[in-house]
């Protein structure tokens, strides 16, 4: 009896002492915070990556959806967690950068986040109804009235990109927001109630494939879709800066060795067969960046949006 109690106490002591002693990530599981609800774009990419990251790290990865307040609630919970590598999160970029540029209180600072990796990036394109007489961006701008565009919300990243991009091209727009999701905004173009929409190329693809929509320009540096001009070719190189990124980060001041391990695990995962296969099926454009490159990109984005601050307010 006495021995069992002793053994039990020892066992408990070992269990509690465990985390301090073991080498990362040998004990316990890694919580991967998703700032949106299950089934969305952020959720899906995390769940596609999680099993491969698990394999590479040798530790369990548990995706946890903490949605709310436009993705800031999830970010806050990561920022509050211990910087021990057992809590990481995915971030809404550039949505959060824009919010921070506009001095909104995120409950944490993007500058403090320990950036681990960039997983994917999508670029935007401008699309019109397939049987529309509009053939080019010039046609669109020459309508003689403000262009009507469709979007989900005024604060959505594509809406922000549209406001800035058309301002740079010097075309006045009316952004009709309030549509339920990005699919609804594209259907609004098909119904003909708006002239065009600015959306990620990957989301537009299914409707251009089905013949309902037609691209008139992609906001990229190099040709992204055969036969469609880029905004760089049209003389607006800064428009290629806009994009949507899936970025992984952790609490402030994470130890360097843990970041290195995590970055390596995400790199391995992004090269794995299951992730590349998933990406091909879902139209996701994988773009791996290590922690240093991600940090540079995040700082760049901050300065990029800072210059349009007045336009966004």
């Amino acid at each position: 009896m006495k021995h069992t109690i002793k053994a039990g106490v020892l066992l408990m002591a070992a269990a509690f002492a465990g985390p301090a002693l073991a080498d990362y990530p040998e004990d316990g599981s890694i919580t991967f915070v998703i700032p949106y609800s299950a089934g969305g774009g952020f959720d899906t990419i995390v769940r596609a990556f999680a099993p491969e990251v698990e394999k590479a790290l040798g530790a369990t990865v548990v995706p946890e959806n903490i949605s709310g307040a436009s993705g800031t609630r999830g970010g806050q919970s990561v920022a509050r967690a211990k910087a021990d590598g057992y809590t990481i999160g995915i971030y809404n970029v550039p949505g959060l950068n824009v919010a921070e540029t506009l001095d909104r209180d995120l409950g944490f600072s993007l500058k403090d986040v320990t950036w681990i990796a960039n997983l994917a990036e999508s670029k935007y394109a401008i699309a019109v109804k397939s049987d529309s007489p509009i053939q080019s961006v010039k046609d669109l701008c020459d309508l003689g009235r403000p262009i009507k565009l469709s979007d989900t919300g005024k604060d959505s990243t594509s809406s922000i990109a549209a406001v800035i991009a058309f301002n740079i091209m010097d075309c006045p727009i009316i952004n009709v927001t309030g549509y339920g999701g990005s699919n609804d905004t594209m259907i609004a173009v098909m119904r003909g109630e708006v002239d065009a929409t600015l959306k990620p190329i990957s989301s537009l693809k299914k409707y251009t494939d089905s013949g309902d929509l037609r691209l008139i320009a992609t906001m990229t540096e190099d040709t992204a879709v055969e036969g469609i001009p880029t905004t760089t070719e049209l003389g607006y190189p800064e428009l290629a800066k806009f994009g949507l990124n899936r970025v992984v980060g952790g609490p402030p001041n994470m130890p360097e060795d843990i970041v290195v391990k995590l970055t390596a695990a995400f790199k391995a995962a992004s090269e794995s067969a299951s992730v590349t296969e998933w990406a091909a099926g879902s139209g996701t454009e994988l773009l791996f960046m290590d922690s240093a490159a991600t940090k540079v990109m995040m700082d760049d984005l901050g300065t990029f949006y800072e210059q349009y601050k007045a336009m966004l307010q």
Binding site: I66, S67, G178, K206
Partner: protein, 504 residues
Amino acid sequence: MGFDALLNALLEVASGGGILYLLAGVMFGLCFGVIPGLGGTTALALLIPVTFGMESLDAMYLAGGVMGATSFGGSITAILLNTPGTAPNAATTFDGYPLAQQGKAGLAIGASACASAMGGLIGLFTLIIFIPVAKEIVLSFGPAEFFLLTVLGLTAIAVSVRGKLLRGLIAGVIGLCFAFVGSDAITGDLRFTGGINYLWDGIPLVPTLTGMFAISQMMELALKGGSVSGGGSEPAIKMKISGVWQGVISVFKNWDVLLRGSLIGTLIGAIPGLGGTVASFLAYSSTVQTDKDPDSYGKGNIRGVIAPESANNAKDGGSLIPTVAFGIPGSAETALFLGILVLHGIDPGPTMLLYNEREIYGLIVAITFAAVGASLLGLIFSRFLVLITRVDVGIVVPTVIAISLTGVYVLDGRMADVLLTVIMGLLGYLMIRFDYPRLTLVIALVLGETAEKSFHQLQLISDGQALQFMLARPVSVILIVATIITFFLPIARKMLASHRKKAA
């Protein structure tokens, strides 16, 4: 081509383990439907991560089972406890609960089970017929039509509260005021949030519904004492549990109600943002309005159970119309279902019916089986379920309150939701005491948001010429006419009745 795919899907569900996932979904959905505060949305949200490791078709069976079963599950508590298990069952309480109080719970449950199954079948049949033209249907409903549908819904509120018009309108206006809380869907401006971050996204629906219907009803029961069918402290001894089959048969006798309910359900289901609560409410109010004897409703008319129950199952079929056409969700449940598809590497969109026909038809078959299966299970267990009305409220009340508050918390993990549920419960209780209709408040809350947003969009896309814009669209014109009829029919009928009286 559609029916071939359907037959294939039937074969696939029958072979292999599919049927097990389907049954699991049905049981899960039934349980979540029965418990106030938990519904199909919560059930699917909890299941999404579970489906990750599954075959995509098995995930469809599981999701379909849940979607098809919750609405019938919810009608059980609506009838027995006056507490709708899910929001769309709210309209079922109007006549279902009076029937239970009269000791005819068996009749009501039988009718609800049969109406649910038949409604589900009709909804899916309509869906399959309309799949080839699904695209055209979705494209003919823009912001103008959404706005007009909400006006139609709000008009139905005004005329549905028979005899209590002023109270109904007051409740409706409170609901509309609630709908304006939060950031404006178009401009992003914050309104009436009182500096509380929680209110930025508006007043959330699930806590409101749970508070309004479950918590308030439990307060009422607790203060009344006894048991549901016992009335006061006297135990009800001579309550009959028979009548289930009569209920089933009554659905076929009232086939006109069934058909109208199902069609309204399918149509409203196809409109994103309105959902089952509005569908069953409109089905109920239109049945009352067109009946020869509108005064018999609210006192235990079986037609008042058939109409909402057929509508809230038919809406599942309808909500798949925008899904198969464009990959946009018609309801909260289909939104989560699309989430499951995305998780399985399927990109919801117009090509889904080409590339993922197997999954779509798998889901259709699963929902059909689930609607029928849940009803059969319900019929088998109804004898025992009815006993709930005899259980002392001292047991029922704490159980329901604890479970529903937990359910509200589970959905998003926010304690503020629980607090809101309690506040809405208090408000709901006051409304019961002072005889204000609660459902009109909820309907106005649901419709208010869509109404405001689509009106604003309509103004933008029509360059401020909203009326001209609407009159140029045929569907809009039909909706305007329907609204005018809904508004004037009761008045015309009243005038006619008094005229006849004078003549006599």
